[in-house]
């Protein structure tokens, strides 16, 4: 991955006037973003946060009121119409609802963006069939979209988005209408395309799982404002804002609900402490557990564990009950706190 930026947002703001009340609604507030060439950039937020507007500023479907959006150092929002159309051909886009043309076959759908190009029929045919092979649907060329499953429809949409050999692929909630397994498949496909075609991918989603499994960088959008951004690993291990924490909580099993915390399932005796230990670097936690049991003569009882590898680095942690003599328990706790892990006491006896 080079550090060259392919898309930059520079102080971008946009308002909508609501038709019913004439009330002005600020959808984007002073957005600054840099998207590296060849990376997968994720934008996460709840519905209504302005994600869809934000991604549509990249291909000029929406135009900012103030600020500018650059694509390869050319400003998108003041381009003449014709140049904008040509630029759009360098950016493919896929949607939550796939938006395939129901009256056209899969082949005709994928061929539509190059239908009016100067390419010969044979060139178009070769290109379309090659793309259908890449997305894993080589035998569906003559099928109609209505006969395909959601995942297959999205694959066709991806093939269609790639037919102009774009430099960027914009994904607007591309997996939100799909079941978990299909979401997984589409994520794998997008990763592969990013790798093999060296295409920059911008993803808008409300699912943290998509960010976790797909993206290199992430921006968290809340009510039109970017509240946090950074590379995915750092944001996951050290989220700063409550919203980001909330999103990350959806992907972690370490967050015990209050009912569990207050229930008899977790019986704490005497000096027991319920402690959550999470990674903030690649330093392993497991040896730490055995170290404290040896050093301080405490029992470390693992209640929940959720450790996964994200971009080659461990992520997640353990929830444990520390029990033993008061001095030993507090000694163990301060020992863990000194190490490169985050420690949080959830409950004490």
């Amino acid at each position: 991955m080079t550090e060259e930026n392919i898309i930059t947002f520079d102080h971008v703001s946009k308002e909508f006037t609501r038709a019913d009340s004439k009330e002005k609604l600020q959808v984007l507030k002073n957005i600054n973003l840099k998207i590296h060439k060849g990376s997968i950039f994720g934008i996460i937020g709840y519905s209504g946060a302005g994600k869809s507007t934000l991604i549509r500023c990249i291909n000029g479907i929406e135009l900012p009121d103030t600020g500018k959006v650059d694509f390869e150092d050319i400003e998108i929002n003041h381009m003449p119409k014709k140049q904008l159309r040509e630029t759009r051909k360098e950016m493919g886009m896929i949607f939550q609802q796939f938006n395939l043309m129901p009256s056209r076959t899969v082949f005709e759908n994928v061929a539509l963006p190059i239908k009016y190009s100067k390419q010969s029929q044979q060139q178009i045919k070769d290109k379309v069939l090659e793309l259908l092979k890449i997305v894993g649907l080589p035998d569906k060329a003559d099928a109609f979209p209505s006969t395909l499953s959601g995942g297959q429809k999205q694959r066709v949409a991806i093939a269609r988005a790639l037919v102009n050999d774009p430099k960027v692929l914009l994904c607007d909630e591309a997996t939100s209408a799909l079941d978990p397994q299909t979401t997984e498949d589409i994520i794998q496909l997008l990763r592969r395309l990013n790798h093999e075609l060296d295409i920059t991918i911008v993803v808008v989603t409300h699912e943290m799982q998509v960010i976790e499994e797909l993206c290199d960088d992430v921006a968290v959008l809340d009510k039109g404002k970017i509240v946090e951004q950074g590379d995915v690993y750092s944001v996951f291990v050290d989220p700063k804002t409550p919203l980001t924490k909330k999103f990350i909580a959806t992907t972690s099993k370490l967050n015990l609900p209050d009912e569990v915390l207050n229930s008899n399932l977790l019986k704490l005796h005497d000096n027991d402490l319920l402690v959550k230990v999470t990674y903030i670097s690649s330093k392993a936690i497991e040896p730490l557990i055995s170290a404290i049991s040896r050093k301080f003569n405490v029992d470390a009882n693992i209640i929940v564990g959720d450790i996964k590898i994200l971009r080659g680095k461990p992520l997640g942690g353990l929830v444990i009950i520390l029990s033993g003599k008061q001095s030993d328990v507090s000694g163990a706790l301060s020992y863990i706190k000194e190490k490169q892990v985050r420690t949080e006491v959830l409950a004490s006896a």
Binding site: E86, N99, M101, P102, N164
Partner: protein
């Protein structure tokens, strides 16, 4: 058999036959011309509306107001009002030749609204995907609006043609020829009930044929 059930029709069989031909003639000529005009107006209404792909409030407002104006005039009054203009354009205000112009003016506003709603029914996402592909306005109209609405357009065209059959009968009142004229002259003015019934049967057959063709086209283009 004809002379038994429909004695008065049998008596004027040639005139009856001729009036069927006239009605079919009116339907085909007016149908084709008004279809083309309405398609253009319908497309213009959809693309120039607010948030349309070639938004133009001035054009949209003018079209919108003109259509509303003409739709509010009852057809029978419209025919009368148009007589001077019809004379200039067709050279006559009676007979099939004299009915084409008022029929077109009468049906186009309704037809345009029908086309407009057929096109507006199209999933907005399809239009957007055309825009993100970098298609031009004309290419989006041709390859998405029209192509993907064929089934809807054929449905509203069927509805409109059935209304048009009604209008072709009304022009009979002012001597426009066709089945309506026959029903008025023989059925109504000479009180020959069987002539009126014969006209109803013919109109029923025409409506059924139009409906069957419409349904067939619509089914053939839906996947």
């Amino acid at each position: 058999m004809l002379s038994k059930l429909f004695p008065n029709v049998a008596l004027n069989y040639n005139i009856f036959q001729n009036s069927i031909v006239q009605t079919v003639e009116m339907l085909i000529i007016t149908g084709i011309i008004s279809f083309l005009i309405s398609l253009i107006i319908g497309v213009l209404l959809v693309v120039t509306k607010k948030d349309g792909i070639a938004s133009n409030p001035v054009v949209w407002n003018i079209l919108d107001k003109i259509i509303n104006l003409f739709r509010s005039i009852p057809f029978i009054i419209l025919i009368a009002a148009l007589i001077p203009l019809t004379r200039v354009l067709s050279g006559t205000a009676i007979g099939v030749k004299g009915t084409i112009f008022p029929l077109i003016v009468g049906i186009v506003p309704f037809f345009s609204r029908q086309i407009e709603s057929a096109l507006n029914d199209l999933d907005q996402g399809l239009i957007e995907s055309g825009q993100v592909m970098g298609l031009s306005t004309f290419q989006i109209i041709k390859s998405i609006y029209l192509k993907e609405s064929i089934s809807n357009i054929s449905r509203v065209t069927t509805i409109t043609f059935i209304s048009l059959i009604g209008l072709t009968a009304i022009v009979g009142v002012v001597g426009g020829g066709g089945i309506g004229d026959f029903a008025i002259q023989y059925g109504f003015q000479q009180n020959e009930q069987d002539a009126t019934f014969a006209c109803i049967i013919v109109l029923l057959v025409i409506v059924t044929i139009v409906q069957i063709i419409g349904t067939l086209v619509s089914r053939k283009t839906t996947h």
